[in-house]
Symmetry: C2
Subunit: 138 residues, 2 copies
DNA sequence: GTCATAATGAGAATCATTGTCAATTGCGGT
DNA sequence: ACCGCAATTGACAATGATTCTCATTATGAC
C-alpha cells in the first residue's frame, strides 16, 4: 500500500452533486442515490455514482453496510456522538431514527471479551408499521 | 405466526449430501459447498445447493453471514433455534457466535413503541481480532 | 407397487456491481 | 485567460452471485 501517492480527487460537478445528495443523510443503495440525483436534475451516470461512493468510502467519508440481500448501502459518515439506528418498515420503507440504550457499551464489552479491537456495529431493525399492518387486514 | 403449516422436507440424497458436507464445519459460500460436494462425487446441481442452504437457514439449522463482497456464507449452526449474532474480524473474516443480552426484548419494545409489528433485526458486529491486531504491529 | 407432488438439474434470467473506452473536463503550468 | 493532458465521465458490455423456469425424477403416503 502506498498512501504517499495521495490521490487527488478532482472536484467535478458530479462529485459535488453526490456530496450534496449525501447531505440528506440516511443509508441508501448506490442505485437509490443515483435515482435521487437524477430526480434533482443531474444527468450523472450510474457507474459514476458507484465509483464516487466507493472512493468516498475508501477515504472514510462515507460508511457502507451490506444488507442481507447483498446490496451495499452508503451514508455520509457522521460524528460518532450522534450514532443512532433505524427502524424501517419492510412494506412501505418508512424509516425512523431510534436509540438502542447500552448497545454501544454492550458491543464494546463483547468485543473486549473476544479480544477484538476497533469494534463497529451495524444494527437494522425492520418490521411492519401500523398503517401497513392495517392495510394487510383484508 | 403459524407453525401449523409445518412443511416437512423430504430427505433426498441431495439434502443428505449437503447436511453431510456441512459437518466439515466452517463458513463457506454456496458455490464453495457445491464444489466440495462435486469433488466428493455428487452430481448435485448448484441451484439445489442454494435452495437447500436457504431452507436450512430459514429453519435455523445453518447460520449465514454476508461478506463485504456481497457473498453469502453458510455454516452449520451449533445452537439451532436460538437466534444469535456474530462478531466478525474485518481483516481475516473469522467469525464467532455471540449473544447480545436483552436485544430481542429491547427490539420488541422499541418496535411496539413505534407501532411496528413482526419485528426483525440484523446485527453485525465487526472488529479486528487479536491475532490480526498483532500482525498489524509492524 | 402406485401415485401425487415435492425436489431436482440445466440453463436462462435477474440484479447489483464492475470493466471498457472514447469523449469530456478540471486544473496546474504558462 | 489559454493549453494540454491525465483524471473523470457516461453508455453499455461484462461479470459474478443468486434466483427462476420447467421438464424430469424420485420421496413418502397409501
Amino acid at each position: 500500500m502506498n498512501d504517499a501517492t495521495a490521490p487527488r480527487p478532482r472536484m467535478t460537478k458530479q462529485r459535488a452533486a453526490v456530496l450534496d445528495a449525501l447531505d440528506q443523510g440516511g443509508f441508501r443503495s448506490a442505485q437509490s442515490w443515483h435515482d435521487l440525483l437524477r430526480h434533482d436534475g443531474s444527468n450523472i451516470g450510474l457507474a459514476t455514482v458507484y465509483r464516487t461512493l466507493q472512493a468516498l468510502s475508501e477515504s472514510g467519508d462515507v460508511d457502507s453496510v451490506v444488507t442481507e440481500g447483498g446490496e451495499t448501502l452508503y451514508r455520509r459518515c457522521e460524528t460518532p456522538e450522534v450514532h443512532h439506528h433505524h427502524l424501517r418498515c419492510r412494506v412501505c420503507g418508512a424509516a425512523e431514527d431510534i436509540d438502542i440504550p447500552d448497545l454501544e457499551e454492550v458491543s464494546a464489552r463483547i468485543g473486549a471479551e473476544h479480544g477484538f479491537i476497533e469494534l463497529e456495529h451495524v444494527v437494522e431493525l425492520t418490521g411492519v408499521c401500523s398503517s401497513c399492518a392495517a392495510k394487510a387486514q383484508h
